[in-house]
Symmetry: C2
Subunit: 388 residues, 2 copies
DNA sequence: ATCAATACTTGAAGAAGTTAAATATTCGCC
DNA sequence: GGCGAATATTTAACTTCTTCAAGTATTGAT
């Protein structure tokens, strides 16, 4: 029924899957609360939970809080035994691979990175293999508790079969990365688009928990978007989804390499910001960090570049909110290291452009440590354990 | 188990619902094909289908085509008995109510309309009541086969409880239209936003059949969008979804009443087209029909207005395609009566703006008879029978 | 006529969930 | 300290739905 450590996937009756997923994502919950939440009888929850407890995936917490006004038996909340199993997550970029080891609750225990010099399949597999070894070496726990590896990279990915359909930055087409990495490492491998992986992580373990629908906007060199609608990740039929980088947001904006004009990416992408800051300072070698420093120091024109970028991002978010109406929105990415320069402008612009009540949608804005991408990959791997 | 004509909702075991929905939407299918399609055993399909046949909702068709290479018992495809039950659908606009009677397959049998002079709740209920009477009078079949009424109107609607949260054009807030109309007519009433209703109709009975995800763009006075993602209609958390009218699509476009500039609606909305045509002809009383006639007759500048509108619509579609990646797209609405003036420009612009393979997404463009809106309402009513 | 192929049906067996009753644990109150 | 009300969990009998395996039905090809 439920798998021992050796069996491949984790398939059980629907109720068991629902119970496990809910406990995993929504923290310790009593059986009665689970029953209410999932529309099951409490008897069904008891039965579904037992094998999960026997296998060590769940355990009972000591009763803590008193519930009602007066009396009653205290609940014994079910919680995930986070250290029952560990998961590897690796993000592949053009010039390095970044990896983490996470527990069942997607907490990072170990991380590592390796440079990547050639983008060919063999080189990537080799470096991923070495990175996995590094992670295993650094991992203090029992190796046999690690059976799964998630890979995340930018591009058109078929998660179901672990196929990289097309990766522009690696120049790959139709590479069966899942199968290859599995042969190389001996682990069960999942492959997912990086933005979608991050969205999945946020959906199960971050701010998206409990939201019927939400949107994750990533700001960096490019501007991306991951969507969850009706509780499910949006995949897109033709390998395309969440492409918001080339939405027009500023009628009088700069030309974009896509051929359009005033695209978000041409205003708020990291490269665009650097280019604009260089123009305004006359320093052709200005870096993004220097631009941030200048803006913080009060350089009017450079500051205006960030203001404009924040406004552009706000417009893009509003477009997403108007179209799909998410319950909440998270804005994240390396590009938000200069968070303080963006925050208020993103919000103001969003609220002005959002339609009616959509403006009330909570928006979280926060920078994203680079390891988060790898954690996203691990999160997908965790999902693949629960919902194969 | 399954309802006789008197019982309220149509709730059965999951397999029965799945079988009925599939036969309803995907035409005659054999039991074996259903089993494969739904991941059930053929025994389960047989058992699920029996009560549906007994109740007259399904029937067996004569075997028609030979299947495989040589031999085998021919299939007896299951089909919906379309005239087993009929459904009323009514679209409410600012100045009239339009109604239809549809069969189970959403084929229109009767239609009617009545003017509406006051937009207050009482007046609308009265006219809807009269329209229902008109439809009943004109309906040639047995009245007892009609038990359900769908209402569709623009605005923020809670379909679940039949509540009109906010309707700008009627100036309504929190009107429990479902309950009121049910009391008035004695029918089971569903209420849905008009664009979503049309999307639902297209999803079950139109070009959206079988598509995991698709988008319906309506072009008229406003520009709207209905979405189906992962097989489910997108509702939006704050009463907002599918608002694409104010996407910026033309950097140098005209000002829009929303405060922005170059919005789709300010370029391709019916009012915007008329305004532009008036400017170009110097005739302040020009109607939309006259503008269409002029364009068809070759009036350069007026023609250019339509070209520009088509281009703007194409941009908007591309934005939707890039964000959610639908399997297919339908562009429709009264505004496309001048279909021939738009078609190629919409396509060209869409293909230019769509990202990568998304440009391959099939786009259907066609005008929409006004009764289709009422049919959409009826379709929601049909859905409410099957999936309460 | 017989065989192979395919479609459908049947009845026994099994899985998953429900209801109702029993058990467990607490609080407030005497 | 004991008792009753309140809440949580478990147990056991039962219901429902589904599959499995074996049979029946119907056809084309030989």
């Amino acid at each position: 029924m439920f798998p021992g450590i050796d069996s491949g996937t984790f398939a059980g009756p629907p109720a068991a899957t629902a119970v496990f997923t809910t406990v995993l994502t929504e923290g310790p919950v009593s059986r009665v609360a689970l029953a209410r939440r999932l529309g099951l009888s409490s008897a069904a929850v008891t039965k579904a939970a037992r094998p999960l407890i026997d296998l060590g995936y769940l355990h009972e917490l000591a009763a803590t809080e008193r519930s009602g006004p007066g009396a009653g038996r205290p609940a014994s909340p079910l919680a995930v035994r986070a250290e029952r199993e560990f998961f590897l997550g690796v993000k592949i970029t053009a010039d390095e691979v970044i990896g983490v080891v996470c527990d069942l609750r997607a907490q990072v225990h170990v991380s590592a990175r390796r440079p990547l010099d050639a983008p060919d399949v063999e080189a990537v597999l080799t470096e991923v293999g070495r990175l996995v070894e590094d992670l295993f070496d650094a991992f203090p726990g029992d190796r046999s508790l690690v059976r799964r590896l998630g890979l995340a990279l930018s591009g058109d990915i078929d998660r179901g079969i672990g196929l990289v359909r097309y990766s522009p930055f690696l120049h790959w087409r139709d590479v069966p990365l899942g199968r290859l990495a599995s042969q190389r490492t001996g682990l069960a491998v999942t492959v997912e688009n990086d933005v979608k992986a991050l969205t999945a992580a946020e959906h199960w373990f971050g701010e998206g928990v409990g939201a019927e629908s939400f949107a994750l906007i990533t700001v960096g060199t490019g501007i991306g978007c991951g969507l969850v609608v009706n509780g499910r990740l949006v995949s897109g039929s033709y390998g395309v989804a969440g492409e918001i980088g080339h939405l027009t947001v500023d009628a009088g904006g700069p030309d974009c390499h896509c051929g359009g004009r005033g695209c978000v990416e041409a205003i708020a992408g990291t490269d665009a910001i650097v280019t604009q800051a260089r123009d305004h300072t006359g320093r052709p070698d200005l870096t993004i960090d220097e631009a941030v420093a200048l803006a913080r120091a009060g350089h009017e024109q450079v500051r205006a570049v960030f203001t404009r970028a924040g406004t552009a991002i706000g417009c893009a978010i509003a477009a997403v909110a108007n179209l799909v109406g998410p319950t909440r929105i998270v804005v994240s990415g390396e590009g938000l290291a200069a968070y303080d320069l963006f925050d208020s402008h993103i919000r103001t612009s969003f609220e002005r452009q959002a339609f009616g009540a959509a403006a009330r949608c909570p928006v979280s804005i926060r920078p994203l440590p680079f390891e988060e991408w790898a954690r996203g990959a691990a999160a997908v791997s965790i999902q693949s354990l629960v919902v194969p």
